[in-house]
Symmetry: C2
Subunit: 220 residues, 2 copies
DNA sequence: AACCTGCTGTCAATTCATTGACATTATTTT
DNA sequence: AAAATAATGTCAATGAATTGACAGCAGGTT
């Protein structure tokens, strides 16, 4: 079979290619070489060719890559040609912000519903949905063909809710709770650990301004 | 004498160690071996020891690591013993959500102000701050010792605002705008590209459900 | 006190990712 | 139509990250 496993390192770079190609397309640029793309994106041309070749050849020797075609292909690889129905669990600040952020729709991620355990929020209108009680999740997932659940709840509840979602047949979890979920391998989890990211920023600021967060000045 | 550079791969893992050690500490656990931690965290014991040793030895042979001490040390490496003053640029859904999320304070990231270009939001109270016009940023950054700016504005404006922030002497930018910022190397940027993350999730869902149903690797 | 056990720190081996080099092939030019 | 040019696809070389192995030391045991 043609499909050999593709490393997550490569996958992580695809959205960035997709973004740049989209911009080139919007600028009306029709063709581009790996070298030109390399200059724009600040990665080596070799890596670009290597990455694309994981999925078969999208380019032509002597010509380069057709921007529109490559954009479409990468979109397809990322599954953006298909619609994904998603629900948001947790109607707090973050849950509401994500629900109201319309840009995901553009890539086929359709916001379908939002759930919270706080009765005071039931019925509150967010985007085109009303906040529903957690007890409705099962029915809703099953009858609305929901692929993805966005977990925007405290970490104390995340594991329990995730297990339920798995039982209901969810395919992927976009996890904003600060905890590592333990789910079967057929359920995909993508973590967004904001505080981890902020700590990394803190380290890098320190490294530069205080000469590295390196060694303890007094070991023990 | 220059410390040897520590790879970002290692740094990226530190917040996770920090989180697990904090939990162990809260459970009253005093000591732990790399092997025990390995079992809990699902990474190899070798990697744990290797990672910690980048910063000097925190453990003792025959004993293991003291949880409290290791927790403190990793916190210090990440710069969490220092306070960081931060402002949020953009009082939209995401900006407000981040401002209202109190958990960052716990690690020394203090929310000091929020700015937006929309006059209708001026004066709106968010947490302990009122939304201010963008023109106030310069003065505010300089007189309040602001380290970090959180960019929660559309990508069309992000580059321009980032340049200004650099001029005002900001040390780090936590960038939620979907664009790669071009800043001098002494300014640290940490990107949170949410849609990239969502696309990665989409790929992985696809890979499993449509892409030949392949697991990462056949069990040996 | 001497011995045994457990576990780190570290070096070597291995695996994985990135970069460099170039033969090959399409396009363009003359 | 043939030659020149351009740029891919791919293989080999290099570099980085992870894992494995073990000497040596601290702490516990008898």
């Amino acid at each position: 079979m043609e499909e050999k496993e593709i490393s997550q390192a490569v996958i992580s770079r695809l959205p960035r290619y997709f973004r740049y190609l989209g911009e080139l397309k919007d600028q009306g640029i029709e063709r581009i070489s790996s070298q030109e793309l390399s200059d724009i994106m600040k990665v080596t041309a070799s890596q670009i060719r290597q990455d694309f070749n994981n999925f078969g050849g999208f380019g032509q020797q002597g010509y380069g890559y057709n921007v529109e075609y490559l954009f479409q292909e990468i979109g397809r690889i990322l599954g953006l040609n298909q619609k994904h129905n998603l629900i948001i669990i947790g109607a707090g600040n973050l849950g509401q912000a994500l629900a109201n952020y319309g840009n995901f729709e553009r890539r086929g991620f359709l916001f379908k519903g939002v759930f919270d355990k706080n009765p005071q929020l039931y019925g509150k209108k967010i985007r085109d949905a009303e906040v529903q009680p957690m007890e409705h999740i099962e029915q809703f997932v099953k009858s609305n063909n929901i692929d993805i659940a966005v977990l925007a709840i405290p970490k104390t509840e995340a594991e329990r809710v995730a297990e339920q979602l798995v039982d209901y047949g969810i395919k992927g979890i976009w996890n904003f709770a600060h905890v590592d979920l333990n789910v079967p391998e057929e359920v995909q989890v993508e973590n967004v650990h904001l505080s981890d990211s902020l700590m990394k920023l803190s380290y890098n600021i320190n490294r530069f301004h205080n000469g590295g967060g390196g060694k303890p000045d007094a070991p023990q």
